[in-house]
């Protein structure tokens, strides 16, 4: 039991490291294709963290939708644009300074807030074995309490599809 808990904590650090390293890779690499693959690594690390938080459905959706569909779309667009010759210039110094400053201020602020946040010291325990599975619970909620939002999301997807078709036309008559 003790050994298993140490193992789970170790896995948290490993997957967080994968996610953070992937995220850093996205902004450091000059080649957009390398950035895209680093982003896939970051999404897989995030999905592993979701699964560690007992959100199995969300973790799998994260891998399927983000790691699969969205990233294939990104790579496809990168391939269409052939931008190998474009990324030769260096980053602007002002932009790098601004990005570093904003994110460091954000992280310092976050650390201060988390330091004062007393519910934040709850330990990740083990769920009771008789708790219902998350797919069942989420499905029940989605088709009872959140049924109207589900339909609105369906309409949104339809609008997005039509919008993409209109935008992709060569010229509007």
């Amino acid at each position: 039991m003790e050994q298993a808990e140490v193992m789970l904590d170790l896995l948290f650090y490993i997957f967080s490291a994968i996610a953070v390293a992937g995220a850093l890779g996205v902004i450091v690499n000059k080649n957009p294709v390398t950035s895209a693959f680093c982003l896939i690594a970051a999404f897989i690390g995030l999905a592993a963290l979701f699964i560690q938080l007992d959100a199995y459905l969300v973790g799998i959706i994260q891998i399927l939708v983000y790691g699969g569909a969205v990233m294939v779309l990104f790579l496809f667009i990168i391939m269409l644009m052939d931008m190998a010759s474009e990324e030769r210039r260096r980053f602007g110094l002002g932009a790098v300074a601004a990005g570093l400053l904003v994110s460091v201020v954000f992280v310092v602020q976050l650390l201060r807030v988390l330091g004062d946040y007393s519910p934040g010291s709850k330990v990740l325990g083990v769920l009771p074995a008789d708790a219902a599975t998350d797919v069942e619970q989420i499905g029940k909620l989605m088709f009872t309490q959140y049924y109207f939002p589900v339909q609105v999301v369906g309409v949104l997807l339809l609008i997005a599809t039509i919008g993409v078709i209109v935008l992709s036309k060569r010229e509007l008559k």
């Binding site: 994260q62 980053f91 904003v102 992280v107 988390l114 934040g120 935008l167």
Partner: protein
């Protein structure tokens, strides 16, 4: 050291900060868009963490947050499709993906 809610929130905030830095630093519009996706996912992590640590009477996580997350992922997927279509249209009009070159609205 035992893993607590703060650990997950910190990782989430760190990923969000990295994505924010990427949006400010990078000039390629596609990489900026990737960083936006990263920020969305980072926010999702804190939602899942709050859902898992805020146990209901039945002993399970609060699944309302996970339904909300489902909607976020759906909207993000729609956003990616529309955004990439806009980027392709922009590339067709300007022949560039560098945001500093796209400045016809400036002045």
């Amino acid at each position: 050291m035992e893993v607590t809610l703060n650990h997950f929130l910190f990782v989430s905030g760190l990923l969000f900060a990295i994505g924010l830095a990427g949006v400010l630093v990078r000039r390629n519009v596609i990489v900026i868009f990737m960083c936006l996706e990263l920020m969305l996912s980072a926010a999702n992590l804190s939602l899942v963490a709050f859902s898992r640590f805020n146990l209901t009477e039945s002993g399970g996580p609060d699944y309302n947050a996970q339904v909300f997350l489902f909607f976020i992922i759906t909207v993000a997927a729609a956003e990616v499709a529309v955004g990439l279509a806009i980027i392709v249209a922009l590339y067709r009009a300007k022949q560039t993906t560098d945001v500093t070159q796209i400045n016809s609205m400036k002045n």
